[in-house]
Point group: C2
Chain length 337, copies 2
Amino acid sequence: MNLKDLAAHLEVAVSTVSRVLAGRGAEFRISAETQRRILEAAAEHGVRADELGRSLRLKITRTLGLVVPDISNVFFATLARAVEHRARQAGYLVLLADSQENTETEAQVVQSLLSRRIDGLLLAPVGGDGRHLLPLLSPATPVIQMDRLISSLNTSGVISSNAEGAHEAVRLLAELGHRRIACIQARGDSSVIQERLRGFREAMTELSLDPSFVVGDAHSQSRAREATHALLSGAEPPTALLTLTNQLALGALEAARDLSISVPDQLSIITFDEQPWASLLSPPLTTIAQPLEEMGALAVENLLRLIENGGSMTREPLGQTLPTRLIQRGSTARWMS
Amino acid sequence: MNLKDLAAHLEVAVSTVSRVLAGRGAEFRISAETQRRILEAAAEHGVRADELGRSLRLKITRTLGLVVPDISNVFFATLARAVEHRARQAGYLVLLADSQENTETEAQVVQSLLSRRIDGLLLAPVGGDGRHLLPLLSPATPVIQMDRLISSLNTSGVISSNAEGAHEAVRLLAELGHRRIACIQARGDSSVIQERLRGFREAMTELSLDPSFVVGDAHSQSRAREATHALLSGAEPPTALLTLTNQLALGALEAARDLSISVPDQLSIITFDEQPWASLLSPPLTTIAQPLEEMGALAVENLLRLIENGGSMTREPLGQTLPTRLIQRGSTARWMS
DNA sequence: GTGAAAGCGCTAACAT
DNA sequence: ATGTTAGCGCTTTCAC
């Protein structure tokens, strides 16, 4: 049953029903009696204005698109929860798409979402140079990037302070007395890794330590294990490690176990990415946590503002950065030289 | 730019453009030349039939609703990924809603999704008796439940073999020589917990062991820790535990650590719910894994079949059950009495 | 082979 | 204080 049927049933005009159900009865001076009849009948039959017709007419869908590289990853799942909650609070629903860490899929789902006329897009991009997305996104399309940032897309974004997080980690290790601090990195193509690496190098330089003490080249746990293994069996092994992602940390932990190197007595480890199980490992991991809740909520808020402004970016900063938080646990300890 | 604009631009009728873009040019005997012109111009301007107008006209949205209690939970996040992939394969997008383990929110989001005219609903219900959902779901609404099952909703569902999983776990422990096997449960209101409990009791009875060796009353890790603590410090402590959820397992592990009881030497532990970090704990956890990928894909397939049949359930079984898998790791060992 | 027109459900502009 | 009508973008029936 829709507004038209209800109107026929009550022998009033559809427009009257529409106005009353939109809560604008007073505004149009609909008589109290008519309002009551309409409201009652609507409640009785469970009638609500159909969003589809409404969307077509108003040219808004009250729907946001959310594209993440892997929704089964706790990081993005938590981000998605924050996004969904904040969006629903504002009366929006979320169309979810998983790009499977694949730029082609990403382009495809973005196009699907756009042809559904989403009001705005929240994108945690896979990476790359953005050439696959540029032709799809008109400058008028409201888009906010999250976590990673592709500058060529020329949209604003919400990220966390990756460089500063690395800074803080190095500072902590130095305060604990460490001098030989190594960094286990992944491939350097994403803005996230690049920023973390930059932070590491800067901090090391500031402390007059060796900023080139960086190994690793892949995202995988097994490669991190190999790289760390080589590092620790070398001539002058580090006394502390900063791993740039959680998977790398696990690889590093494995390598330490392989070589019977005790953490944190013989080796301190700090890693990016807080995970629910970080505190359950032995030793519990010291991590650099990202403010996922705030990131998601803020991204939605920025996007809604963009939508209200008709999609036009009003020369805002090209990336709002939220602070990371260092969570000190058992994998870091003072170094007695 | 839409079909109408394109038609005007090419000086043909909208209907012609619609037919060609729908790939039905041949069917309507549109001349090769006209087809070529339309296709070319469409590609050039990136024109695709707008889904909104299409949906209104065809009364289908090619959109499925997915409602889960907590998308940040790895379990549901993995399920969501499977659902999204399978749905997109079939040309559907997914509207995601998080019910926050709250029946009121659940009812609200289901209504929102329905007013968006989703073609079908995938629901991992919060629980309860379903009274909050019944008035919203007409018998014609295609719905498939996942993971948990509320029978009053009278829809079919895809779940995993919770009772059989518990059976298998008990059997393994018995084979390892355990006789005093305890079960750490949560609140018993969800079908999932009830089934697992039933499996435990049946298996214990079959083996002539004590089926009433069950403790615990809450979902939380801390309560499980307390319950296990009491259990292990008691007069006749168990030599093996079956915990019904992962959080309970973590609490149990904590309790064992508190009391310096070595796992698995002095206590074996098996738990429901495989998690990505299960193998990284020390000892690595023996788990009962649920086939999340299959569950998600199968739920989508069932839902699509329901949609094709116009929503009418053709007297199918009220619950398709997928087998769980026991993953044996280091937390279980032979008991030397 | 192609076009014109109706109608999906809604809201807003324009009548009364 | 309420009704009539146009039109959002599409597909399909009917027409030629």
